[in-house]
Symmetry: C2
Subunit: 156 residues, 2 copies
């Protein structure tokens, strides 16, 4: 029964209730995994890990939970080109942990980088403002990825 601490659980209940969802053992376990993970996990990655600490959980529930977490804005879903979606916790209130991706097109390794983010984000905000005016979009997210070959794959 993987529950971290009361404070967090309270907060979770509030957040979930606000969106019309219930807090269940499975959902807590999945959030737990995502908090601990330092990589970009696929649904199956998560399923296998959840299964360790809470064997009753099924793959379907993992998919369903990821879907509502994304809808709630608590996680982001990425496509790195290997045919399965990857998930990671979204950054906190103040945008801490915000990063972009560097993807190896050969081995699919993904590097999170935060370097140069400030300059990038500044320009992005500006672009965002101009684009939303010109095209009448309300923009609420962006995706930046660089593609190339990592050190290993380069030397082959």
């Amino acid at each position: 029964m993987p529950v971290r601490n009361k404070c967090c659980e309270q907060w979770l209940h509030g957040k979930f209730k606000g969106c019309g969802y219930k807090v269940t053992t499975g959902r807590q376990a999945i959030l737990d995994i995502l908090h601990k993970a330092n990589k970009h996990l696929s649904a199956e990655d998560i399923y296998l890990k959840v299964h360790n600490i809470y064997p009753a959980a099924g793959l379907t529930t993992v998919y369903r939970t990821l879907e509502i977490l994304e809808k709630m804005g608590m996680i982001y879903k990425f496509d790195f080109g290997d045919g399965r979606a990857r998930y990671e916790l979204s950054e906190g209130e103040k945008g801490e942990n915000h990063h972009h991706h560097l993807v190896c097109t050969n081995c699919n390794q993904v590097v999170d980088y935060t370097d140069f983010i400030d300059k990038e984000v500044k320009l992005l905000k500006e672009t965002e403002r101009e684009l939303s005016k010109k095209y009448n979009f309300s923009i609420n997210n962006h995706l930046i990825q660089f593609y190339g070959l990592c050190e290993k794959c380069k030397s082959k």
Copy 2:
């Protein structure tokens, strides 16, 4: 028998031969479609259009051709989040036609924008240089997409 002009065909033969591929009617038809298309086509979109001008072509061939065109760097493959890949011709030698995407997360409409590209690309080049040094990647592409709600979906 969809062949545009001799010059182009010559050039194609050279390009394909250089990569060890043959120029076939189906491949020419698919390139034709991509040239004429002003939208981001899915494999099935292309299949249906090719089927009109060259009914012998099958969906498998479309996928195989798209695969080699991507490998040759002649087209880019995108994921806009609707469960199927989208394809478009890559920009020319001098980067003309380079653009980024504005994606509606509700109706999946995609707007290509070239506004502000210059400033963006300048910063990107710089970032690219620094990232490749720091992480030992050889970077050869980037993806920038903004997500939000288009005019129609916003007002609902």
